[in-house]
Assembly symmetry: C2
Amino acid sequence: VRLYNYFRSSAAYRVRIALNLKGIAYDNTFVHLTRNGGEQFAPEYKTLNPQGLVPALDDDGEIITQSLAMLEYLDEKYPNVPLLPISVPTPQGYAARARVRALALAVCCDIHPLNNLRVLKAITKDLGADDAQKSAWIAKWISSGFAALETQLARSPHTGAYCHGDSPTIADCCLVPQVFSARRFNVDLSEYPTITRIDAQCNTVPAFIAAQPKNQPDFEA
Amino acid sequence: VRLYNYFRSSAAYRVRIALNLKGIAYDNTFVHLTRNGGEQFAPEYKTLNPQGLVPALDDDGEIITQSLAMLEYLDEKYPNVPLLPISVPTPQGYAARARVRALALAVCCDIHPLNNLRVLKAITKDLGADDAQKSAWIAKWISSGFAALETQLARSPHTGAYCHGDSPTIADCCLVPQVFSARRFNVDLSEYPTITRIDAQCNTVPAFIAAQPKNQPDFEA
């Protein structure tokens, strides 16, 4: 397994957590998102992933794009240490899997896409946002997204030590990188005690710790 | 099954297609996204879905949020007329499911979140975008997203009459509403012949036709 990886990419961070949780050894090809105008735009990389986005996963020649598709793929192909509630054919069983996916998607569709590098570039270059407007933009989407997630997590009997029960799922794989990003951008997290409690729990687990940006070979301060 | 629905919502449109493809009868509760300051922000709706986003799905009391989680849920609970390649335990089998999910996610994570109502409001109100900048913003994300999707679809032997093979999948459920939205915003689609060919094919199928915004009870011209 080879991960096209960048230490600071939230989406790559999700996949690193999942690979580590499942104990899957992997090689890295680092794709530097700002050097040389962005190595993700190099023709060789765009042949691999026409979206020009990181990460990409090469599993013995099968190229997988989109971090959530990778998490589902890894969970299906390497079912040891499941990252979704086990499929049981009851209404509650189906709903449990949907709950975990919905928590992950709330991060991946409604928070992260609005704050990633290409969008921050666009609001600056195309719409003339200054630094204060950029910070407000970032805080707006993280805060509104986290407020909803906090409610969903705090009120549900399914929330445990982790987003769902007492073992990590794809929801935690997505939440932790988003919390990291929120801290990096100095977003106030004081109103999200359940989110920060789960994040703290995750970051006691070696698989999560090893996936942190600062523990990557390509880390830059 | 009850769908909290709005005729023009891309995310609701995805779910309507899936429900129709599977032949699942459903009731509607319409949530008007602009009337009364946005009915999705009403306290009763936010109790149901704290994100204040449409759609939400109520399946006999199980409340599902996030359209892609709904598609996966429907495919697991109602496996008739599958919307993902059948799971076969081979590298190609796992990769096929990942391919379909990645195509769907490329729409749901990297195109649609940048052009939905709340973001268009934010670039106008918070960043002062004028109408020309708003149109350019919409076209930028749809065009870059579709360019990558076109490459991925055109070069793959797995692409058939539909995004994957010769029957609809969740990728088609997501692509068709995005093409509809692109046309609504007058985005030039001439460089995406595979996308428009698949869209045209889908729109010959009764399940897709019945899901179109203009065929909804709450449609407004």
